[in-house]
Amino acid sequence: MTRASAPGFPEAQVRQRAREGVAAVFAPLETYGDQLFGAGADQPPAPDGIADDLDRAVVAPPVFMPRRLEKLIDLGREPLHDDVDLATVIGGFSSPLPVYVSAFGSTRAAGADTGIAVSRQAGRLGIPMVIGENLVPVTGYRRSEKDRSPILERLRAYAGECPPGLGGVVVQQSTEDADSEVWNLVYSDPSVAGLLDSGRLGFELKTGQGAKPGLGGMTVVDPAEAARLDTRFAVRELPGTGGWLRCATPGTFTEEILRQQVRFMRNNFPRARVWVKFHPGRDVAAAAVTAWRAGSDAVTVDGAQGGTGWAPRAFLGRAGLTLGECLRRIGAPEGCLLASGRIWEGGRAVRALAMGATAVGLGRAALLAVDEDPEHGLIRLVEALALEARMLISAVGKYHSRLLDREDLWWPAPTAQPHPVDDPTVPTLERTP
């Protein structure tokens, strides 16, 4: 265990789930019968500026449940929460759960062992996994047998555990990765042929960062590393710290550039799935529609939350739309919509699904979970999330995650109005604390 930490994130809860799995969904058994539970006391309030209105939404079960009646007729008995079907297709990949593992960057927190452990457990779960940007320009691709490339190691670790017909691996490429031709390297690598031949390889065009929308990836490196990376990245000294900041460019996108890049991906890699990831930009609805119409299999929206890299304080919670606002602006999605940002338990996951997402991504939560237990942490965390999701979805009288709808949510405080999809120019609404 490396004791990675994530200030501002409910780390203790994630670690508890990684240790205890579904047991952590409930209060300790010894309190049963003695303690009365209520919202607030059992759930620490989200720190100021990081909470988003998706967390304010309340799952609102109805009294009358025609969908439950359908299920009752189907089963010939009263349905239970474990009758909820969570299996879905995520960006072209079959998944037993509406959950995938988001990319971690090339930073130390997502170092080699953690990356491998995540890959192995995601593979065992059969859920899709995204492999992060900048891994190749930072660490190289094919190295000696002793010192293997992290990207290939993660691909192999995942493929070695994943049941046939489930899951898939998506490899990101950003501007600096394009210089290293990451997609070409992966696409023609014999060790990846199994995933490609079974239709379980995808590529994700990364257009931005959730934690610092509008900026590229940033990591802190020592002077020697800074010198080594100088030809591939902009490297800037951090005065007074002894550290250096490695800055990736975010890349320049216009509607036409995005459309053509997606077409290029489809043209060049016809056997790979195409995903596009956006930062929580104010025009995210227009961007998502452009990507779907150009043929991308999934659009990921990364809410302004956090990440493994370095982000300026001015950005944290103060730049970029919240995940809830992104989903609201996108409205009814034209294609597969994936949501990530501060997802770790079933409640926020179900709220994101009700707002239109097909699946949710686990980023920091997955890292913390394998940090807690490299063998089972992620699996237990996901099992707990799935149990909660099943209970919440059955509570609104539905038995498949795709049936969730905005009607299943209630915002107790006044909130932003929905925006039409075809109006990308609406200004950012002021966030309520």
């Binding site: 394009a178 070409n184 696409y187 023609s188 030809t231 077409r263 290029f264 043209n267 890699f269 016809p270």
Partner: protein
């Protein structure tokens, strides 16, 4: 050539039996045809004011290409350089001193293994690379058609016995020698394929199976023009009157032999090139030398590359491209 006579994928190349391949009768015949084809190429261009240059082999960048082929890296005094996948940027740069030029250019493209069975792909191959300052796409198409016709006639005249020994019927070239080249747009080609039940994407290159279908249906060479943006390199110019349509072309051989030539009118405007680089996912910073030349001003031009091994395969009628290379390197196969 009828559907029944179509070239099959051919026998499998055994990299551990390169010696047998080098002494095979078909290899010897193919090399004799290649020699005459090269003679015919040079003969054609010398009479038309072209200069033959020898292309560079490595550079800080190379043609990013398309369709999943990757460039090989070399360490050049500590700098990551590429082996040429094509020398397109150097062709354009050379126009400053040589307004009509050609190369017989060696190229290396590490094609994805899925191209191993097309019979039309090699990792190491050569292109007859042509660039003409001030030319339009139509000029380049005329030059490509003229070159092909000249080379076919030269080979038929000089090594008829070799072709006969390979069982290649002179009649296969009758339409070509009569000067009949057809032409259709990419949209028309897509429509034809889809009407025939082939699921061709309208936004992408004609896929390998689709190209084969179209080639098998033809009895003479034909051009496909107007590829959509997103299917070709950033240097193919976009039609100013039809956004999204490129002023480019392929020349497809009949009989299942597929594409022989790719060419286009080139984009020569600096700002447009930078934008187009982004549209194809490229980082303009790595094209520094090329963009500096572009800012200074490069002549407008059109040009093309004709695959030498594909040309020789078409001439010989052999089943697969590896049979016309002395040292074949097939996609996905590690070879000496």
């Amino acid at each position: 050539m009828s559907q029944q006579e179509q070239p099959a994928a051919g026998a499998v190349f055994r990299p551990d039996r390169l010696g047998e391949h080098l002494v095979a009768e078909t290899t010897r015949a193919a090399m004799l045809v290649q020699q005459e084809a090269l003679y015919g190429v040079r003969d054609y261009f010398r009479g038309r004011g072209f200069t033959e240059l020898l292309p560079p082999m490595i550079g800080p960048v190379t043609d990013p290409g398309a369709r999943g082929a990757k460039a090989l890296d070399v360490d050049f005094y500590g700098h990551p350089y590429k082996l040429m996948t094509s020398a397109i940027f150097y062709k354009q740069a050379s126009l400053k001193g040589f307004p009509k030029l050609f190369y017989i250019a060696p190229n290396i493209r590490v094609e994805p293994p899925e191209t191993a069975t097309t019979g039309r792909h090699l990792v190491e191959f050569h292109q007859i690379d042509v660039e003409i300052a001030g030319a339009s796409r139509e000029d380049a198409m005329d030059t490509a058609a003229g070159l092909l016709t000249h080379v076919v006639r030269h080979v038929l005249d000089t090594v008829p016995d070799v072709l006969a020994g390979l069982g290649r019927d002179r009649l296969a070239f009758a339409e070509l020698l009569a000067g009949k080249f057809d032409s259709c747009t990419h949209t028309e080609a897509v429509d034809r394929l889809r009407a025939g039940g082939h699921p061709q994407s309208p936004d992408a290159e004609i896929d390998w199976a689709g190209e084969r279908i179209l080639s098998l249906e033809a009895d003479r060479p034909f051009f496909i023009t107007d590829y959509p943006k997103g299917s070709r390199g950033f240097y193919d110019s976009e039609d100013p009157d039809r956004p999204g349509v490129l002023r480019n072309f392929d020349l497809i051989a009949p009989g299942g032999y597929g594409e022989l030539v790719s060419g286009s009118e080139r984009e020569a405007d600096y700002a447009t090139i930078v934008t187009r680089m982004r549209e194809s996912g490229e980082n303009p910073a790595k094209y520094d030398w090329y963009l500096r030349l572009m800012r200074e001003g490069l002549p407008s031009s059109a040009g093309f590359g004709m695959g030498l091994q594909r040309l020789v395969r078409f001439l010989t009628g052999l089943d697969a491209l590896w049979q016309v290379s002395a040292y074949p390197k097939l996609p996905g196969t590690v070879s000496p």
